[in-house]
Amino acid sequence: MRISTNQYFNINTNNLTAKQSDLGKLQGQLATGIRVQKPSEDPLAMATAMGAQAGVKQIEAFEGNLTYVQNQLTQMDDALGAASEMMTSIKETMVAARNGTIGVNDRKILVEELRGKMESLRGIANRQGPNGDFLMSGTQRDSAPFPQGGTGDFLGLTPANQANVTGREIQVANGRSIDLKVTGYDAFVNKTNNESVFQTLDNAINALDNPGFPNAMANATQTYAQVFEQSMGTMDDTFNQVQLARTKVGVRMREADTITTINASAKNELERVATQAVGLDYAKAISDLAQGQLQLQAAQQSFSNVSKLSLFNYLS
């Protein structure tokens, strides 16, 4: 076939630029480690990778949420554990005080001891998280559940409203939430008589602190030993509620652990999917690069040699 001189140069330069552009693309892939840089290079792979990457990001948010939930639950667990110990200690003091033969001075000492322990228990029930939120107040995070000098009612609410105080649900995985709904009402308010442990203790301490009781009081029908007996019964019930609340918290902590593991493996899997979809097969890319270099070199050499040939070289 006849070929024009221009055509010869055009074909060669087009070939050279095409080969250079292929090499440039390979170099870009090797530099980034990503095979699919633009959606058009592999639309399905790109969409798959983007879906997987969005999934990874979502799990990262859940991981943050889980950390928060675990911190919060651990603090509640600590507080409830401390509350159990304190209540056990209070009960020991009450057993000592129940003894009807103790003298007036001993009573005073016991009153002080019980008051101190009650305030410690109150401190535990009113514990705050690192952000200043009251752990046992549910969504009313800014209010102390059992403020000092208050009525002793949970958040100062009527018994009917106390039960309505709820806690946050925190999403920890797609379609799974862990709630922080264990409140001071669940742990410290006796469900039989709607009396908080602080009201129970207050009654007992007042009885102990009143040496004439019950004879000095007009309508008294009970001895203080009887009041103590009753208070200790209520305390036992409430103690069981604290244990139950602690169990609830424990169940949620275990669930949080399980979901952490599930999330980690789901995240790994999604990362694998994303890498497989758009990641680079280095072995193949490097061999392609070597081949491309060889081809470009051959094309350059043959072009520079052949283009030197001209009949005009021989005209003189």
């Binding site: 024009s4 221009n6 074909i11 959606p39 639309p43 859940f62 939120d133 925190i170």
Partner: protein, 581 residues
């Protein structure tokens, strides 16, 4: 006797000199774009009868002709138009393809960040730094929507520039072609019917080739050597020595777009008769317009739909809740200043040629963003009803117009395939017969991504708590915002579950990828057709320097030989003279 030999040798010298001149011309034009190599056609002179013999009289140069194929040139023009069309489309969409999935600048990560911030805020809804973070991610999501839409507006602007540029190129080329037609017609050799003004013809062919890059052409060569040119839609561009200019003007149904057409007087008013990109066929101009009408509009509408639906849903949730002070929540996003939904993400363009005697506006009443698909609608008023009655079709579909149904509250509405209202509208005034022929274009979400902005800037104003439990630790509303990530709030007309905003964006990325690929493949196919035709034409008409070197030797030798004949005949004449000394 020697007189005859002189004459014959001289004719040989002349022919060889013409040959050498032509070879030199070819060599000189080896790099001239559009040059067709030339060659000398020479004929033996009719011989003289001497007695019973015929004796040759030498040689005549009959003509210098272009080595040229009209068929191949037309093929190359057509291939050029086709390639330019797909090249324009592919190059434009490549700009979307190159940035849409970019992790650093793309929407995907901004969406993830926004929902992640809502998740984090849901753990401790009173935490001011988490609130601030939520607002910051919402703000960067809004600016991501803005910049994605702005990139598309840039492409729209590029199309406008291209239309202006194409119009100029078309008018330049057609006026030059008309002028060349005139010169070719008047060139003396043409008039005498011998020889052809080869280089003028080459110039004209080259101009036609350039014109074909802009618009697909129908070329009609005439006997007298001139050519007539028509656009794909039949619009004349050049008839003999007269050029018909085209103009670029604002689209009467969308002032954001430039269109090409010709101006005609209708009812005493200058009106632009626009050229439909489909009727234009090939060429870069049609490619740019087709990209704008199809791909660009669709993608911009879809991005707008995501911004509009996310904004609408988040705003409704915010309004259902209370902020940190227990006050009813405000819209998180706004689409105008002040927001006037749905008018702020939807655009209604009345046609510039609508009735002047009874001008009416089309007002949108409702817009169901879960049923919107990214299509725009054309409304055309026809006779019927109160003087005029609306019909609709999907813009750019070229489908037949259908009657617009009326809903229970007396509003006109455009239904989806299942008959549910996508959007409903009314008119600002009573219609009469003068409104027949009025047109409106409704773009439900075109401007939403462009307009979305923050309405709330103080962290305590974010409504995280529900109205039923307005305490600072309640997270119900912000949790609902976080859960929007996977809620199927879009495209519910295709499946009742719908498509979540993240999925919708990924689907769009995949559509952009597939479309880009499709256009690149089409461009590549046209490119190989073009280079094949070009090679075939070059193989026939291009200059080969080795061949010219050989021809140079050939004519040089012939010239030398003819010169030798002259000196020989001088010797012969001298011989005769010496005979008489």
């Amino acid at each position: 006797m020697s007189n005859t030999i002189y004459g014959i040798a001289l004719s040989g010298l002349n022919a060889s000199r013409s040959g050498l001149a032509t070879v030199s011309h070819n060599i000189a034009n080896v790099n001239t774009v559009g040059y067709n190599r030339q060659e000398v056609v020479q004929n033996a002179r009719p011989s003289n009868s001497v007695g019973s013999e015929y004796i040759g009289q030498g040689v005549d140069v009959q003509t210098v002709k272009r080595v040229y194929s009209e068929f191949l040139t037309s093929q190359q023009e057509k291939a050029n138009s086709d390639f330019a069309f797909y090249s324009a489309k592919a190059d434009q969409i490549a700009r979307i393809d190159g940035t849409i999935a970019d992790d650093a600048s793309g929407l995907a990560s901004a969406l993830s960040d926004f929902f992640n911030a809502a998740q984090t805020l849901s753990t401790d809804p009173a935490d001011m730094s988490a609130r601030q973070n939520f607002l910051s991610t919402a703000d960067s999501l809004a600016s991501r929507f803005n910049s994605t839409s702005a990139a598309m507006d840039d492409l729209r602007g590029a199309t406008d520039l291209k239309v202006t540029d194409a119009v100029q190129k078309i008018n330049d080329a057609t006026s030059q072609i008309a002028e060349l037609n005139r010169r070719i017609l008047s060139s003396s050799s043409q008039a005498l019917g011998v020889g052809k003004p080869n280089d003028l013809l080459d110039q004209r062919d080259q101009l036609v080739m350039k014109l074909a890059e802009q618009v697909q052409l129908t070329k009609v060569p005439l006997e007298d050597g001139s050519i007539n040119l028509f656009m794909g839609n039949g619009q004349p561009l050049v008839v003999k020595d007269q050029a018909f200019p085209v103009t670029a003007q604002r689209d009467p149904s969308d002032p954001e777009n430039l269109l090409v057409g010709v101006t005609r007087k209708i009812n005493g008013e200058d009106r632009l008769i626009t050229f439909d990109s489909k009727a234009l066929g090939g060429g870069a101009l049609a490619g740019f317009m087709s990209f704008r009408e199809n791909e660009l509009n669709t993608f911009q509408n879809k991005i707008g739909l995501m911004a509009a639906k996310l904004g609408e849903t988040v705003n409704a949730l915010q309004q259902s809740g209370v902020d940190l002070q227990g006050v009813k929540g405000l819209d998180l996003f706004k689409f105008g200043d002040p927001s006037n939904l749905p008018a702020d993400f939807a655009r209604v363009n009345p046609n510039a040629y609508n009735s002047k005697s009874n001008p009416v506006d089309l007002n949108l009443s409702t817009l169901n963003l879960s049923k919107v698909t990214g299509d725009d609608f054309e409304i055309l008023m026809t006779t019927g009803g109160a003087g005029a009655k609306p019909q609709y079709r999907i813009a750019g579909s070229g489908a037949d117009f259908k009657d617009v149904p009326v809903d229970g509250s007396g509003k006109f509405f455009i239904p989806d395939a299942a008959g549910n209202s996508v959007l409903s509208f009314g008119f600002s005034g009573a219609l009469n017969a003068s409104n027949v022929g009025d047109r409106f274009t409704v773009m439900p979400t075109r401007d939403a991504a462009r307009n979305i902005a923050m309405n709330v800037s103080r962290p305590e104003l974010v409504a995280a708590a529900s109205a039923s439990d307005p305490s600072s630790g309640n997270n119900e509303v912000i949790l609902s915002v976080a859960k929007l990530r996977s809620e199927g709030m879009l495209y519910q007309n295709f499946s009742t579950r719908g498509v979540s905003i993240t999925e919708a964006f990924n689907q769009m990325v995949s559509q952009v990828g597939n479309k880009t690929r499709e256009l690149e493949v089409a461009k590549g196919a046209r490119e190989s057709v073009l280079s094949q035709v070009t090679e075939t034409r070059d193989a026939l008409s291009g200059v080969n320097l080795d061949e010219e070197a050989a021809n140079l030797l050939k004519y040089q030798q012939a010239y030398q030989a003819a010169g030798r004949v002259i000196s020989l005949s001088k010797d012969m004449f001298d011989q005769i003279l010496t005979m008489f000394q």
